[in-house]
């Protein structure tokens, strides 16, 4: 065991802080660039399997060197500027799109602090992430929306009508889905009472899996994931680059390395939103390997979750057709936004009831009850929908659109945890260990809160000297 007096926080030493910032930045960028390259490989391999093809398999074993070959090819391509383009903005746009995608992960911790021995005999406690700022969620929202500028400016400066339409569409789409994304991100913030991503992840540790915020509010998780898919312009929301109607959309006029940057930004964005979704609702770095025992498992857990999310996105792309633009906007405003408001009200009700009851069991029961009501409502609703569309299939009817299919999927997601919850309640005896842990923690939290309230009350009754001075 390490002597606790030998452990020092990295932020206490300037040299360690600086080294941590630089090494961590370089590591994260290298991982993101490598991740981008191999996400393209993963997507091409998976999509070709879905389409009954083999996919790239010639360059290296299983096509593993294909991304390297693509990169080399793109560097040696001619990189010209169209005569009609607004040159300065045309050059700026790919940078504006790529930088936010790269820096959004700065506030997401990838594991618990790691202990590193150094030559001076001390053990430095180094956080596995760039920074854990207390406004992490705000940073995520702010940085993801900056990426929109890159798309809009690229479309506008290209001097091409198709590009401009692609840019406009993208901006309208991104701002529409940003609202639902922001509102659904508020749900974990409400439960934890902090905007820091590390706090949100650490709030989901016990019991494993059941403690994830996904079960507290599956509706918010579903809204967040759909909205994020729209934010990074992935299929079925890939309107800005709809190749069947707008050539290439906003990047029609881009070639060579500048085109590669747009491409990289899209894939790095996918990795980033997977990491964010995993941290907000899926327990972050804590599961399946025990990250609290060995911090190095943290990044491994994140990697597993990110790859699963990426495969899910590829699967969605292989399955769903692109949504028509008017329906996409209608889905964002008329389905996603009300659902996000509903999710917010749901957690607000559950939390206030738990606060008044002062008993975690009541809190669990209320959470289950609300979930049941919502699930029942959605089931009846989807059932009535299916009854109505039992009539001869009418393709122009918007009830048969992808949007409604996604709503049905949300219904299924909502129903599943309810069943799990039911089962857990039935087998409560066998899980008494787990429940006791949560109860003890809950009791400790309540005691701390009561003590703080008592201290505040005592302070209010006995005015201090500073009060008199004022």
């Amino acid at each position: 065991m390490i002597d606790p007096s030998l452990i020092v926080s990295c932020s206490a030493s300037t040299a360690c802080s600086l080294a941590h910032a630089i090494i961590m930045s370089v590591l994260i960028f290298a991982t993101l660039m490598g991740g981008f390259a191999y996400t393209t490989w993963l997507e091409r391999r998976l999509v070709s399997r879905f389409q009954h093809r083999v996919g790239p398999n010639r360059v290296g074993p299983a096509g593993l060197l294909q991304p390297v070959a693509d990169g080399i090819k793109l560097i040696f391509k001619e990189d010209f500027i169209p005569a009609e383009a607004d040159k300065a903005i045309y050059l700026l746009a790919p940078i504006l799109k790529a930088v936010p995608a790269l820096i959004v992960l700065a506030v997401v911790p990838l594991g618990p602090p790691i202990l590193i021995p150094w030559f001076d005999g001390l053990w430095y406690q180094v956080p596995l992430g760039i920074a854990d700022v207390n406004v992490g969620v705000l940073w995520l929202l702010a940085i993801t929306s900056i990426g929109t500028y890159g798309v809009v400016l690229a479309g506008w400066s290209s001097g091409n009508k198709y590009s401009m339409l692609g840019g406009l569409r993208s901006s309208a789409q991104m701002i529409s889905y940003e609202l639902s994304m922001g509102l659904s991100m508020l749900v974990p913030v409400m439960i934890v009472g902090s905007l820091s991503i590390a706090d949100i992840i650490n709030g989901q540790t016990a019991p494993p899996i059941v403690g994830w915020y996904l079960w507290q509010n599956p509706l918010a998780a579903a809204v967040l994931m759909i909205a994020m898919l729209a934010e990074v312009n992935r299929s079925p929301f890939d309107m800005p680059e709809a190749e069947s109607e707008l050539v290439g959309g906003y990047h029609t006029e881009y070639s060579g390395m500048k085109f590669a940057l747009f491409f990289a930004a899209e894939y790095i964005g996918m990795i980033a939103i997977s990491a964010i979704a995993a941290s907000m609702f899926f327990g972050g770095y804590h599961w399946p390997l025990p990250a609290t025992w060995a911090p190095i498992f943290g990044p491994v857990n994140m990697f597993i979750k990110i790859v699963l999310f990426l495969s899910g996105m590829v699967w969605i792309r292989a399955t769903l057709p692109r949504i028509r633009y008017d329906r996409l906007m209608a889905f964002g405003w008329k389905v996603m936004f009300p659902l996000a408001l509903l999710a917010l009200a749901w957690t607000a009700v559950v939390l206030v009831v738990a606060d008044m009851a002062e008993d975690p069991l009541v809190y669990q029961l209320v959470a289950g009850l609300v979930m049941g009501v919502v699930a029942l409502f959605l089931l009846i609703w989807t059932w009535r929908r299916s009854q109505r569309s039992a009539a001869p299939l009418d393709v122009t009817d918007s009830r048969n659109s992808v949007g409604w299919a996604i709503v049905h999927a949300i219904g299924a997601i909502v129903a599943a945890p309810f069943a799990v919850y039911d089962w857990l309640m039935a087998h409560r005896g066998g899980f008494s260990g787990l429940w006791d842990v949560t109860r003890r923690e809950e009791a400790a939290r309540r005691a701390a809160r009561a003590a703080a309230a008592a201290a505040a009350a005592a302070e209010a009754e006995a005015p201090t000297d500073t009060d008199n001075a004022e």
Binding site: V99, G193, M257
Partner: protein, 122 residues
């Protein structure tokens, strides 16, 4: 401001500088390594092979503006929810009633916009 907080933001500053360099390097490399032989046909606007007609920056649908305006109103309202959500744990029943009223107002605004037809893409 606390020195610790500043430290965290300094990390992000370092991160930002490296992130800004990262896209510039490949563009410069592409410039150096790629061929440069532009000609009028190559640098022409590509609109499916047909010659461009008229100005690029044409009038576009007013609908985009309407969505932007609606978004702005709702986004400003959503910003008010953030401080509330952070403090929610300690505020108790009063904050709950307050926020229900606020959410109801938001929903009313959405219903108004919806009924007015601003969300309809024509």
């Amino acid at each position: 401001m606390d020195l610790m907080d500043l430290n965290e933001w300094a990390f992000i500053g370092v991160f930002l500088v490296i992130a800004a360099l990262l896209p510039i390097v490949p563009i410069a490399m592409g410039r150096l390594l790629g061929p440069r032989k532009p000609n009028p046909v190559k640098t022409d606007t590509y609109e499916c092979g047909i010659e461009t007609v008229g100005d690029t920056w044409i009038q576009f649908k007013i609908q985009y503006y309407i969505f932007a305006l609606v978004f702005l109103a709702f986004d400003v309202e959503a910003v008010f929810l953030f401080p509330w959500a952070v403090a929610y744990g300690g505020l108790g029943f009063f904050a709950f009633v307050e926020i229900l009223i606020f959410l109801a107002l938001l929903s009313l605004a959405l219903i108004y916009v919806w009924r007015k037809g601003a969300l309809k893409w024509t």
